[in-house]
Amino acid sequence: MAEQDWKTSKRTFAAVSLPTLFWLIAFFLIPMFIVWQYSLGEKVGETGFDFSGTLDNYKRATEWLYLTIFGKSFAVAALVTLICLIVGFPVAMAITFASEKWRPWLLLGIMLPFWTNLLIRTYALMMLLGTQGFANKGLGALWEGTSWLKTLVGLQPLPTWEPVQLLFNNFAVVFGLVYVHLPFMVLPLYAALDRLDRSLIEASLDLGAGHFRTIMRIVVPLAAPGIIAGVMITLIPALGAYLTPDLMGGTDSQMIANVIERQFKKANDWPFGAALSFLLIYAMFILIAIQSMRKKVPEVR
């Protein structure tokens, strides 16, 4: 039977795609268009709005103050993505090469956090990192122990333990975002590594390469599509992260999504918030365009 495509069976194609198309238009494109209109209009009074086609909102959004926040958001998102990649790659490798019996459980372990609400996971993490949290208590116990050991051998004890500030700073934001986004990185990496023909790895070993060289020269290049997918799928939501910096960040660690939120909720300046939103969307469009233009890596068979 010939492969069915939309040209030969237009009706079937229409029947299956219409509901999706309707959904996309009604609940995605139209609202987006409304927000886009806001970004080109101005506020009238407290609640009114006038579509005037002005670019003032964009002018304000590209002021230095906001550009630095954009820049910082990009930097944080990039750092988060990089850490996710460095941590996630070995994890994905481990799952790929685990025995048949263990693999589903390891994958479940990666996906388990999705079963819990993000807000609850974030609060749990905050309990862990707080000044009275488990991390600090653990460190404190170690510190006390060392101090006690030193007195035991007749040395001066350590000064009293000062809890480390692990929360409400940039470190906490990056830590929290890595925690939230790691599964997004691991899953596409795992998908790419799982498709990799094992005999390619064996061939590399057979030709005299060690494990590290085999990973760098064979596994990483052939997993490139998965790596890029993982990077995009981590970078984009990390860039728009709102809850984690809001809850775990300090006063100086707000990201662009927090600024946007404030325009809509506190400052009541919808046109300006819309302009900021669309700047972020444009930036993401550019990222995705770059990704789709890159040279295609030969498909791994």
Partner: protein
């Protein structure tokens, strides 16, 4: 080979178990330097596991493997003096042909100029001269296999391991590659160890064949010995096509033997078989070693051969099925005794296939040196 051949690979009492499954069961065999050795067996018989243990991708549960006199225990694949051509070829898809072939040399620290020369030489050897800049996805399956061959041969290994090298090629190309592989092996003088489930492939390429069944060596012999003197029913049945009948040994002297096969008749051999008198044995008789006659003619032809007493090595029956294969015609005959026998007949002239047809009565005989007595 006149002087005793030197073993390059010694497999000593090697067993491999995966959990409760025994893939390789106490195998001992020597592979000689410079020979084309084939491990032949049905899928799942453990032959690939054996090959992978030589390469170092699997470790023996028991026993040891020596390559060139050196025990391979604890030596990882990348440190062994063997290279492997994988069933899927495993050509690196993101590297050009030349980079694929140069991969191992670069790791070995060979100088740039020498790499270039040796890569060109290796590609020339597998008839891919000038293909160096191509990417693997621009090449056919047969060409990719040549790349894999060149990539291994360029390392000048002591032994080249080939895992089902021809299974992914179409019939015509396979026949050509069988020939080319033997030629290549003679040219480079490296020991080849090939795994295959295809008996034609094994018979045409090998110096010696190890037939593997259920993890054990069923027989170790040259191709012609394997075919003409199978050691047991498994080998007789697996290598080539064969009629196997159960019978009782009635006569066993140094220069003659006789077996009584119910349903077939009395079978006479012009050599002894050293089996206990009256023992239950099996007779293997190849279809192409049976002469087919129209009734009335057979007796005279057989009598003229004078190699068996009257009443032996002769049967009558009725053609129950036939298939014309071009070069030969295959007959399925129901003997008067009740047994079914397969006979192949060469079509020496264009009209030979018209001599016999369905339901024809026929007689047949075979020479006294054709049947093989199998004890197991």
């Amino acid at each position: 080979m006149t002087e005793p051949a030197k073993p390059i690979i010694q497999i000593q009492n090697v067993s491999k178990r995966f959990g409760k499954v025994t893939a390789v069961d106490n195998v001992s065999l020597d592979i000689n330097a410079g020979e084309f050795f084939v491990l032949l067996g049905p899928s799942g018989c453990g032959k690939t596991t054996l090959l992978r243990m030589i390469a170092g991708f699997e470790l023996p549960t028991e026993g040891r493997i020596l390559i060139d006199g050196q025990d391979m225990a604890g030596i990882p694949p990348n440190k062994r003096p063997v290279n492997m051509v994988f069933q899927s070829y495993a050509v690196f898809p993101h590297m050009s042909v030349a980079d694929n072939v140069a991969y191992g040399l670069k790791i070995a620290g060979v100088k740039g100029g020498e790499i270039k020369d040796r890569v060109a030489e290796a590609l020339e050897l597998v008839k891919l001269g000038g293909f160096g800049e191509r990417m693997p996805d621009q090449m056919s399956g047969g060409q990719r296999q040549r790349v894999a061959l060149a990539r291994s041969l360029v390392m000048r290994p002591k032994v080249l391991l080939l895992d089902e090298p021809l299974s992914a090629l179409d019939a015509k190309l396979r026949a050509q590659m069988q020939f080319e592989l033997s030629e290549l092996q003679e040219k480079v003088g490296i020991t080849f160890v090939t795994v295959t489930h295809d008996q034609d492939e094994a018979l045409s390429m090998a110096c010696r064949i190890g037939v593997i069944n259920k993890g054990e060596v069923a027989q170790l012999a040259t191709p012609s010995d394997l075919y003409e003197y199978p050691a047991n029913r498994f080998v007789a049945d697996f290598v080539g096509s064969v009629n196997i009948f159960e019978g009782k040994l009635t006569l066993d002297e140094p220069d003659k033997a006789a077996v009584d096969c119910p349903g077939v008749g009395k079978i006479y051999l012009n050599h002894g078989v050293t089996g206990p008198h009256g023992a239950d044995v099996w007779i293997a008789l190849r279809p192409e070693k049976i002469y087919l006659h129209v009734p009335g003619e057979g007796k005279a032809v057989k009598a003229a051969a004078q190699d068996a007493p009257d009443g032996y090595n002769f049967a009558r029956g009725k053609i129950k099925g036939m298939s014309y294969l071009g070069d030969i015609t295959l007959f399925e005959i129901e003997l008067d005794g009740g047994a079914r026998i397969r006979v192949s007949r060469p079509n020496l002239s264009r009209h030979d296939q018209e001599d016999f047809t369905w339901d024809d009565r026929v007689s047949m005989h075979w020479r006294a040196d054709s049947p093989v007595v199998l004890l197991g």
